[in-house]
């Protein structure tokens, strides 16, 4: 982990020790410290505010109830990240069959493919991304978001998910390729309908 993570780690150790001794304010400080970061991670995977809110609360409740089982060898940051990823994975498994959106319902950007990033409103882009990401298998979705948005190294993702680095690279590639294929197919359809 990098230098900033080391600073987090030192502060985290003190807070965790106080929390283990019954100091609830230490728990509150941990929540405030990680809430935005973890919200961002979860939201980019799930792409729904209400579901993200539920997962985030579940994560911190889990931390509250399980702090006594936390072994400080791995670092609190890694530990809470792992809890977050596992809970998010469980949630998207539940959501997978319930909330898949049909692409016909999505306001797919009609701009020319070459400049779609510049000319389309953010809501449409978000909607399309939500559709494309929902088509990914759960493992690819997690790896894609951790690598693409969080910029975590393959080593860090491997520690969090327990998967091999080679497998993670393949997951990332296939997720990326799948999203680009969906984009290409939809734009080709738009071109034919013009």
């Amino acid at each position: 982990m990098d230098a900033s993570a080391d600073l987090y780690k030192e502060d985290d150790n003190r807070l965790v020790a106080r929390f283990k001794n019954g100091d609830i304010s230490a728990f509150n400080r941990l929540v405030i410290k990680y809430q935005k970061k973890l919200y961002s991670v979860v939201y980019k995977i799930i792409l729904d505010h209400d579901e993200t809110n539920d997962v985030l609360q579940d994560v911190f409740i889990k931390v509250y109830n399980s702090i006594s089982s936390f072994r400080e060898e791995s670092g609190f940051y890694t530990w809470i990240y792992r809890i977050t990823v596992n809970m998010t994975l469980n949630r998207i498994k539940k959501l997978k069959s319930a909330k898949l959106t049909r692409i016909e319902e999505i306001n797919v950007p009609t701009a020319d493919e070459k400049n779609i990033s510049e000319t389309t409103d953010n809501n449409s882009k978000l909607q399309f991304l939500r559709y494309a990401v929902s088509r990914l298998p759960e493992q690819q979705r997690i790896v894609f978001c951790l690598r693409q948005y969080e910029g975590l190294s393959y080593q860090e993702i491997s520690v969090i998910t327990g998967k091999s680095i080679g497998g993670l690279k393949a997951n990332y590639f296939h997720a990326f390729a799948k999203i680009s294929e969906i984009m290409k197919n939809k734009f080709n359809e738009n071109e034919q309908h013009k």
């Binding site: 929540v31 505010h49 953010n122 978000l126 990332y172 990326f176 680009s180 294929e181 984009m183």
Partner: protein, 223 residues
């Protein structure tokens, strides 16, 4: 030299600028030499630009100020709920039921014979009349074959008390009088003894019940 599949795996990181100089050069050269890679790279690059252009909404301050109290409210609520079963197999109800099941199984295995008889008592075997006749004929043939094969050594003896017919060897040490029976015929002289013929013998055999026949067959088998 990296093959095309290895290069493909590096494409997303190449697009996002995360490869070092050496690897970037390798990917760049591979793209220039392969049309397949070049097309894939262009498609993924457009997708990458699209993905990075999306702004993800952030909740407002009101959400953040309400999150911690909501977490504590849920924690308090869970504390007041009755403890739910964790499914731990070492907790009392689970190991008590499991132990009882194991003990019951041991008792059943120990007393299997008795239980089996209780559950499945002997049922009378119902044989159709046609089967009865066929069985009898088969049995008679067996008896006949056996007695034919050991001429001069067998006596067919009817026990007057039980009206059963017994086949026994002539060398049997038991005197005939003790069985209170009489020799029906002697294998060597069967056609002279009171006019008994094969037909007589079969008539005798036909008069036997299925149980008597089975007993007779058992005796023959034991000779």
């Amino acid at each position: 030299m990296n093959n095309i599949n290895e290069i493909k795996l590096m494409l997303p990181d190449y697009i996002n600028g995360r490869l070092d100089e050496t690897d970037s050069e390798i990917v760049k050269n591979a793209i220039s030499q392969s049309e397949e890679l070049a097309i894939l790279y262009q498609d993924m690059k457009r997708a990458g630009e699209f993905i990075t252009s999306v702004d993800f909404p952030q909740p407002g301050d009101m959400y953040w100020s309400g999150l911690l109290p909501e977490i504590h409210r849920r924690i308090e609520k869970e504390k007041t709920k009755p403890a739910k079963r964790t499914g731990n197999v070492l907790s009392f109800p689970y190991y008590a039921y499991s132990a009882a099941a194991v003990i019951l199984l041991i008792i059943c295995l120990w007393q299997w014979n008795n239980i089996y008889k209780f559950i499945l008592p002997d049922k009378p075997v119902i044989i159709s009349e046609a089967d009865t006749v066929k069985n009898q004929t088969d049995n008679h043939n067996i008896i006949r074959q056996v007695t034919d094969s050991i001429p001069g050594t067998v006596e067919h003896v009817r026990d007057n008390k039980t009206a059963s017919v017994e086949i026994r060897g002539k060398t049997s040490p038991e005197p005939l009088t003790e069985t209170n029976g009489e020799i029906l015929y002697d294998e060597e002289d069967f056609d002279l003894l009171n006019g008994h013929t094969e037909e007589d013998i079969f008539e005798e055999l036909n008069s036997l019940s299925p149980e008597e026949e089975m007993k007779l067959l058992e005796t023959i088998n034991n000779l």
